[in-house]
């Protein structure tokens, strides 16, 4: 049985374990951005720089100092939660994240949740009668969803709902109130559902089909329990562990990296967009902040997944 004490121990263990993970992730990222990433000094120079100016900007970016010293300084600042300023715009990285992460969340979370709910509902129906009409439809849908490029899907949605039907804005994020939010979130939601439905449906179906063939579900079936009860009480509950793990681990991706393609094509000023810009331009403060925050969020997700697993699965609680 899970007690508050054991939960605290688990959280403490996870947080301790997060330190080497954070160090490892930041060290690898720092090494990659310093030695293999774009040299931002050249992005910041004008059209006709002198060699002295090149050196000066390189000095200002700290490129003249030893790697370990730079990494050490970065860690020091990170412990003080000083994320610095974007080298390109001068905006504080904290402000940048505070501005963009909520936008990603607001724009993509509805599609994320709806996509999972839809995939789960379809997967349950498909798993109940493998090879049946719904299952065949689901297999077709998942193949289509996985093979269709997100770019094509987004362009098609823009053309249908933005131009042809003229229901929703083609792009942008001019959200001032609930009505404008609903109008602007519609196409990203459809795009998110379309982008993830195929993968989720295939995964959920496979898990549910395996669970439905296990003794508890088969026994419930033999007892003649209603279909809805078997699916929700015996099948879904038993399959919840891998499903939850998949869902919880997707959350940091939505929060931090957003969905680059969806954000880019739909003009959503979210975290994915700034991450992409930072990667291509070599804006190290932004990039390292995103990497560090992602690592922290993954640790949180890992802990949350463990706690939820204990909550839903008595076997883990007993262990």
């Amino acid at each position: 049985m899970t007690t508050p004490g054991s939960r605290r121990t688990l959280v403490a263990r996870r947080l301790l374990g997060a330190l080497p993970l954070l160090l490892g992730v930041t060290l690898v990222s720092f090494t990659l951005t310093v030695h293999f990433g774009p040299d931002q000094a050249w992005e910041l120079l004008g059209r006709n720089p002198t060699p002295e100016q090149v050196e000066q900007v390189q000095r200002q970016l700290g490129q003249d100092r030893p790697f370990l010293m730079r990494y050490g300084e970065f860690l020091q600042r990170l412990t003080r939660l000083e994320l610095g300023h974007s080298q390109a715009s001068g905006e504080s990285v904290t402000g940048l994240l505070a501005r963009t992460v909520p936008v990603s969340l607001l724009a993509l979370a509805p599609g994320f949740v709806l996509g999972i709910a839809l995939a789960l509902a379809l997967a349950l129906a498909a798993a109940w009668r493998p090879g049946g009409r719904i299952d065949r439809l689901c297999r077709g849908l998942s193949s289509l969803g996985m093979s269709l490029s997100v770019v094509i899907t987004v362009i098609a949605l823009q053309a249908i709902f933005g131009v042809w039907l003229d229901w929703f804005p083609v792009r942008g994020w001019a959200v001032d109130n609930a009505a404008s939010y609903l109008a602007h979130v519609a196409v990203p939601t459809m795009a998110m559902v379309a982008a993830n439905l195929g993968y989720n449906l295939r995964f959920f179906r496979a898990v549910l089909v395996a669970t439905i063939n296990e003794p508890p579900a088969r026994t419930a079936l033999a007892y003649g329990l209603p279909k809805s009860r078997i699916l929700t009480r015996y099948v879904l509950r038993a399959a919840l562990l891998p499903i939850l793990t998949r869902v919880v681990f997707s959350v940091p991706l939505i929060l931090i990296s957003g969905s680059l393609v969806i954000e880019s094509h739909l003009g959503i000023p979210g975290a994915g967009r700034i991450t992409f810009d930072a990667v291509t331009s070599g804006d190290q403060p932004v990039l390292m902040a995103v990497v560090s925050l992602s690592a922290v969020l993954f640790v949180v997700a890992l802990t949350a997944a463990d706690l939820l697993a204990r909550l839903v699965d008595p076997r883990i609680r007993a262990a």
Binding site: A88, R171, A178, G267, P269, R273
Partner: protein
């Protein structure tokens, strides 16, 4: 009521309530679209069209280009008249308007903007030489203004600079080291926009996202998707005088511009600038009713809008729905050789130098500009010899076109005559930005080179992940052949010919690393002459020198084709005028 219906009912109520709460749209909103995202709105960083489009509307420059006059003509903006220039061309006295004020901002005492003064002009120019500014435009004035010599770095904005003097609160006197007729043009560039020292110091590093200027608009919102600008209530520039802006009924009547004559700036209640790098999305947004109001048609989408290319004629369904304008860009694209590599460029041995020149000329002869234009610019580019594009007054329509004619036979003859054979041809590195488009351009070039006997294995493509990386490769002389575009910041051939000026060698603008004392001497001579036939002759001579030396393979000026919705009254421009035209944009009444 069944409980299951309750959430739906709540959601519907919320939606209806939200719809009722939505504010009415302002009367006149114009949604502009550009194909890139400005990183910073600090004028000292505004050397690209994306930042300049916003900076010229949030800040004001001493001068600007007339809205409609072509060729481009300067006109005062923040300055009260043209500068008084001394006879020797070295002293400029510029008087400011007395009604110009900075927009209200918390950077000022009480949050109220103060008048723009001569000290602001001096500070704005000095600021480019403060290391913390990381100016991208100091090169325009470096070694030009007395006291701002090569290598000058100011440590304090209060440090006196001999060539920058405040005569009285509204007059600034600038002393140059040598005549610089292009100087007034540099004061029309976004880089020269006037900033307030209080704002720069108040916002510190975040000044780039907190603009405080004296332009026609103030920033209401700015993110990676769009910028929203609203009128600056302190912006007073009298009424619009269309005749003074170069209005010509024969050319401009069809754009409905006559109705803005006599109105006051700015004409919009809100200006939105949307950043849409993806061409398809830009087009989709334009065709949607709530999308952007203007599109610069990307070449790859020209099929959708053009019925004919030469002369350009729109499809009837497009012509009936939108207003349009097309013209050549103020710039060009070209290929160049790295003359610093003795394998293909300058060589101390005159014999080898001559052989290298023959090789460069052969590769240029192999280049098929017509095919390049058809394949990558949809036949809409204008091909011209050298580096003086058709938009410039110094362009020579009668110039010898040999350097842009495709002649594999002549190329092979040149190679044979210079003793180049398959086994002694050098290995060359062709630099490109990592994209399918540029890779295809390389393959096309390599095929032409192969056709004249240059082995494919000797031409190696080296791709760079971003423009910054590509700039570094050029700046550190790592590539032998390169493709570049050059956009003119002012309408003077000096701006394009400086690409070959020796002291500008890499990491400067002279990516060719061309070093020719004769060229440099003539360039310096031409650069200090006022506009006129003598200067034009010199510019053309300089152009012929680089053509003769086979330093450049080029060039091609792309055609800008704009479409915009009929209720928008404007003539768009993204070149010299850049964002300045936005203060003239008006929206017709319903059905207007």
């Amino acid at each position: 009521m069944p409980p299951a219906r309750l959430p739906w009912l709540l959601a519907l109520t919320l939606l209806l309530a939200a719809c009722q709460q939505s504010e009415p749209e302002p009367l006149k909103v114009y949604r502009h679209a550009i194909d890139g995202i400005p990183a910073s709105l600090d004028p000292a960083h505004a050397d690209d069209v994306y930042a300049a489009t916003l900076v010229t509307n949030l800040y004001d420059t001493l001068y600007r280009y007339k809205y409609l006059a072509r060729p481009y003509e300067l006109t005062p903006s923040l300055a009260d008249g043209f500068p008084e220039v001394s006879e020797d061309g070295l002293t400029y006295r510029i008087r400011l308007r007395d009604d110009a004020r900075f927009a209200d901002d918390e950077a000022f005492p009480g949050g109220v903007g103060r008048p723009v003064r001569a000290t602001d002009v001096v500070y704005s120019l000095k600021r480019h030489f403060l290391p913390d500014t990381r100016s991208r435009g100091d090169w325009l004035w470096r070694d030009r203004i007395v006291g701002l010599d090569e290598g000058t770095r100011l440590s304090d904005p209060d440090a006196p600079v001999e060539g920058l003097q405040v005569e009285d609160p509204l007059t600034v006197k600038i002393r140059l080291r040598r005549p610089y007729p292009q100087f007034t043009h540099t004061l029309a560039m976004a880089l020269s926009a006037i900033v307030a020292r209080e704002a720069v110091e108040h916002y510190g590093r975040s000044f780039g996202v907190n603009p405080v200027g004296s332009g026609p608009f103030v920033l209401a919102r700015f993110d990676e998707s769009r910028a929203v600008l609203e009128p600056n209530e302190h912006f007073r520039r009298g009424v619009i005088d269309l005749d003074a802006e170069g209005y010509d009924p024969a050319r401009h009547d069809r754009f409905g511009l006559a109705r803005i004559d006599g109105l006051t700036f700015p004409l919009l209640d809100r200006l939105e600038v949307h950043f849409i790098p993806e061409p398809t999305t830009r087009w989709t947004s334009f065709t949607a009713s709530s999308g952007v109001d203007v599109v610069m048609v990307p070449p790859e989408l020209s099929e959708r809008v053009l019925a004919e290319r030469d002369p350009i004629r729109l499809r009837p369904e497009i012509a009936s729905r939108y207003r349009s304008w097309h013209g050549p860009e103020a710039g060009f694209v070209f290929h160049g050789f790295n003359m610093d590599n003795p394998e293909i460029g300058h060589h101390p041995d005159p014999g080898r130098a001559a052989r290298n020149r023959a090789l460069r000329c052969a590769l240029r002869d192999a280049f098929d500009w017509q095919a390049r234009n058809r394949a990558f610019y949809h036949g809409l580019g204008q091909i011209f010899p050298g580096a003086i594009p058709p938009i410039l007054p110094a362009y020579d329509p009668d110039a010898d076109a040999d350097s842009i004619s495709h002649s594999p036979r002549r190329a092979r003859a040149r190679l044979a005559e210079a003793g180049w054979q398959t086994d002694n041809l050098p290995r060359l590195v062709y630099g490109l930005e990592s994209s399918v488009h540029q890779r295809q351009m390389f393959e096309q070039f390599r095929a032409w080179a192969q056709a004249i006997g240059f082995p494919a294995s000797r031409l190696e493509a080296r791709a760079y992940a971003s423009f910054g990386e590509y700039a570094r490769a050029l700046g550190t002389r790592q590539v032998d052949l390169f493709l570049l575009g050059w956009t003119l910041a002012y309408p003077d051939a000096q701006y394009s010919l400086q690409l070959f000026y020796g002291p500008n060698a890499a990491p400067g603008a002279n990516s060719f690393n061309y070093a020719n004392p004769t060229f440099d001497q003539l360039f310096e001579q031409a650069s200090s002459l006022p506009a006129g036939p003598r200067r034009t002759r010199l510019y053309r001579q300089l152009n012929r020198i680089v053509i003769e030396d086979c330093v450049i393979i080029g060039s091609l000026a792309r055609t800008r084709l704009f479409l915009w919705k009929p209720h928008v009254l404007m003539l768009p421009d993204r070149d010299m005028v850049g964002g300045h035209f936005l203060r003239f944009v008006d929206i017709a009444d319903q059905g207007g």
